[in-house]
Subunit: 127 residues, 2 copies
DNA sequence: TCATTTTTACGAAAGTCTTCGTAGAAAGGT
DNA sequence: ACCTTTCTACGAAGACTTTCGTAAAAATGA
């Protein structure tokens, strides 16, 4: 069980880009961030340097322009954030959270089917 | 659609106690907090004063010892936190989150049944 | 009555997160 | 060669969160 350092909000935004695009430069990441909101180049740089220290990302410094890549997997980060919300807001009960999410969310028939399939699979395996 | 100010971690801990016990004094809340970890009385007091300003709680100041009560509902706060996590970590897809929660969580047969019932209900209603 | 305890109010320190300015090195263009 | 652009490094400001010390008022009780 690996212990992942939880990314902050700004860090998570950067990770999303690295997960989507693979290894990227600061410039590239910054440009994508700027599609949503204005962020200074050095702000992004600083964040990515901090993320390197936290071992959230890794970088190739062989060329002048460093290339960063995610060191943590998206699913693991999702799991960590989910666990925290479950523990702090849902009394530690994942079902509680699922019920709330299902209740609030307008799920499509297809989504519901996927969820049902997963439940069926879990039921089968636990036999 | 009411816009609820999102509670911080420490504020959420206090809300949990108010939701569980109903209107409470600072002393009482602080004692419950201290069952988990050491927290100074004035720390709790200050937090609850801040929460009053944020309209997360309300207080009855008619007696010397003020009595605080939650002004936001647990479900609404859960919804807000869930929405944030869905948007920042799950690409805006509640189903994504549900799948992750279901996959990671060792759900009991009973929990699975409750979830299936809810799905069935949603399917019925949407017809 | 007078010391002790309980309570609120307030300010500020310490920690974290986000932001950016400045400096200096490296690369590129003319 | 030299000016401009691009890049990294670093420090620090500003915002937010959590923590608590101190002061003053109110209640308690001996």
């Amino acid at each position: 069980m690996k212990k992942i350092q939880k990314p902050t909000d700004a860090e998570l935004e950067i990770l999303q880009i690295l997960w989507r695009d693979g290894p990227s430069t600061v410039r590239s990441v910054n440009e994508f961030l700027n599609e949503k909101r204005e962020v200074g180049y050095t702000t992004t740089l600083k964040l990515m340097q901090i993320m390197t220290e936290k071992s959230l990302v890794d970088r190739d410094t062989s060329a002048r322009t460093h290339v960063y890549r995610a060191l943590v997997e998206e699913g693991d980060v999702q799991k960590g954030l989910l666990k925290k919300v479950i523990n702090t807001a849902f009394h530690g009960s994942a079902s509680n959270l699922i019920m709330q999410a299902l209740g609030d969310h307008r799920a499509s028939a297809e989504e519901l089917r996927a969820i049902k399939d997963l439940i069926r699979e879990i039921e089968t395996k636990s036999k």
